[in-house]
């Protein structure tokens, strides 16, 4: 289902949010998390979104990944207007276009690293041999030592688990990776390795990456840093 990319002079943004608002209701209280928030990411960019806890970082990633819908505004990702997709179309779109990476890895503990990475591929018409090949390639790319490919998550360190989770996110070769505090649960050294890996994926495989974090050190790995506070956007540094 790969379509030729439209040839335009101005490359369309990988992610474009236009005046997006999102609020949650907690009893009678309405919490405005995003208020007419606009934001774009160019294809191939590695953007770090930095904001304090509770300011709406995860909410933003969920909106971009089509897991949640805005109350107002438009979201366009990888050339698709998410507002035009129904539930099942969005699910299929997500399988092709988005790789999620979470702070807590969310691996299935009783399945081996290989089996975990294979899960997104099960949705595609693909032979078992082809799946195995891609799983190996993804795991190798993330730097998980080969002899650990058949280990189960509880037998791996946090950094190794996050490598498996990254392999799972890239195994279907999506153009956009969404990372929610990918190093939040790791020590400095393991965190640095993971951030280096993300940077490599961005530079070598041209993955567009949006990473949210509240760790200023993590943010330095990105080309671009965006500060988010109650719908306020400040571009502090462009690399």
């Amino acid at each position: 289902m790969s379509q030729p990319k439209p040839q335009t002079v101005m490359p369309e943004p990988a992610v474009g949010l236009d005046a997006v608002s999102k609020c949650y209701r907690r009893g009678d209280e309405v919490v405005h998390v995003l208020d007419h928030f606009s934001f774009t990411v160019a294809p191939g960019e590695f953007v770090a979104l930095m904001a304090p806890s509770g300011s709406g970082k995860s909410t933003l990633l969920n909106l971009i990944g089509g897991l949640d819908q805005p109350d107002e505004g438009h979201i366009e990702v990888a050339g698709t207007d998410l507002g035009e997709l129904g539930e099942s179309a969005r699910t299929r779109w997500r399988a092709r276009n988005i790789g999620f990476i979470f702070q807590l890895y969310y691996l299935i503990p009783v399945l081996s690293a290989q089996r975990n990475v294979e899960l997104p591929l099960l949705l595609q018409p693909m032979s078992r041999a082809e799946r195995a090949k891609r799983v190996e390639a993804a795991l190798t790319l993330t730097g998980l030592p080969h002899e650990r490919h058949h280990f189960r998550p509880p037998e791996l360190s946090g950094g190794q688990q996050q490598r498996v989770a990254i392999a799972r996110a890239i195994v279907t070769d999506p153009p956009l990776l969404l990372c929610d505090e990918p190093t939040g649960d790791l020590d400095r050294q393991a965190g640095d390795e993971i951030l280096g890996l993300l940077k490599t994926l961005n530079e070598r495989l041209h993955k567009t990456i949006v990473m949210v974090t509240h760790d200023p050190h993590a943010a330095t790995y990105a080309q671009k840093l965006v500060h988010l506070e109650k719908g306020l956007v400040g571009e502090l540094r462009t690399g």
Binding site: S58, N62, S88, R92, R94
Partner: protein
């Protein structure tokens, strides 16, 4: 769903997540189906005779109650009706032997008709038939009854009746055992068959009978004939109720032995409990996995696919437990059959029971997956990920 098979790592992961819990759930399903198999076998032992009853037979009794009498003349009227091949009548004696609790399934019949009707089931020689026909006090005794009371051929046995008074003023009716027979039909082997003429003398209203057995020309006319008979007597002093012999026999057994009903009630309770246990276990396991399910959704797994996976999980648990239960029941029934051959000669687990069990398993799995499916429907990916 040809592709569900490729997701088996996920299904096996779900089952292995809490091995002990999965095994316990399978075990409780197994017990439910073990009970199911045993009940089916018991049912077959008790009601097996129902199936061998003539498909073309009707039984007419009083519409008021099964023990209310009907005039014997009704039998002649029915015999003259269209589509009726044969008519026999009988009367329930309400007999016992020595003590009230030694109840006998004794009926008085028109002997020639009775013999004609049961040529195949009764293994009697011509001489034995003649002997019984010639002796109005003669009785044909089913082998199981004779064994219970140690009766021998030629013996004169005093039967007692709750209903009929002997012309001599007592309730004791001496009968002579003309023959003790073996039969494939359990109902016959448990029966005591007597001459109507003998008992007619004891009726306070003579020429009354208990039931009329009718054989129709064609099975397809069963309902029409039954309807015509009841219509004929609807406005008489003795309204009738006519049913197929199968219904009648089952009804008759039900009045004497409620064991089937009791066991069935127990079974329903057990099944209901097991259903709750299975559904609850599955629901709990789905709830614990909600973040895993949410992550699958982020990878592009649809609601429908996740439903299918949960349903498959339920099927694996229920089919494994259920089939093990039925196999165990088959084994146990075989052992019981050899031990209890005398009492329950037709104890067996039939193919139909197995198929019923299989159908029940599918329903069971479907029902237990219902709640989890509802949970998944309501699961918001975002909240599930937030919950950790």
């Amino acid at each position: 769903m040809t592709t569900i098979f490729r997701f088996r790592p996920l299904i096996s992961a779900a089952l292995r997540r809490h091995r002990v819990r999965t095994i316990l759930t399978m075990a409780s399903v197994m017990i439910a189906f073990l009970l199911f198999g045993l009940l089916q076998a018991l049912n077959h032992a008790f009601y097996g005779g129902v199936k061998t009853a003539d498909r073309r037979a009707l039984v007419t009794t009083s519409a008021l109650s099964m023990i209310e009498p009907l005039p014997r003349a009704d039998a002649a009227q029915i015999a003259a009706m269209r589509d009726v091949a044969q008519v026999a009548y009988e009367v329930w004696i309400g007999a016992y032997y020595q003590h009230q609790n030694q109840v006998l399934f004794a009926i008085a019949v028109s002997p020639k008709r009775f013999l004609a009707e049961h040529t195949r089931e009764l293994a009697l020689t011509e001489a034995q038939r003649k002997a019984w026909l010639g002796d109005r006090r003669g009785a044909l005794i089913g082998n199981l009854v004779a064994r219970t009371y140690h009766w021998k051929v030629g013996e004169i046995v005093p039967l007692r009746s709750n209903i009929w008074v002997h012309p001599n003023g007592t309730n004791t009716w001496p009968v002579k055992i003309e023959d003790i027979f073996h039969s494939k039909s359990r109902a016959l082997e448990e029966g005591v068959f007597l001459h109507y003429r003998y008992w007619n003398g004891g009726l306070n209203k003579p020429n009354m009978i208990g039931a009329i057995r009718i054989e129709v020309d064609h099975f397809s006319e069963l309902a029409a004939v039954a309807h015509r008979i009841d219509a004929r007597f609807a406005n008489s002093p003795y309204p009738t109720r006519t049913a197929s012999a199968r219904t009648f026999i089952k009804h008759f057994i039900d009045q004497t032995v409620d064991i089937g009903v009791i066991v069935q009630d127990i079974l329903i309770a057990v099944f209901f409990t097991m259903l709750l246990v299975t559904a609850n276990t599955l629901a709990r396991s789905v709830r614990e996995r909600s973040s895993e399910i949410a992550v699958l959704r982020t990878q592009g797994y649809s609601h429908q696919l996740i439903f299918a996976l949960i349903l498959t999980e339920a099927l694996v648990v229920v089919l494994t437990g259920g089939i093990a239960g039925l196999l165990l029941a088959t084994l146990l029934v075989q052992v019981l059959h050899t031990l209890l051959a005398e009492f329950l000669p037709t104890l067996a687990l039939t193919l139909k029971s197995d198929l019923d069990g299989l159908g029940l398993m599918l329903a069971f799995a479907g029902l237990s997956a219902l709640l989890p499916v509802f949970q998944v429907q309501r699961l918001r990916i975002v909240d599930a990920l937030r919950g950790g």
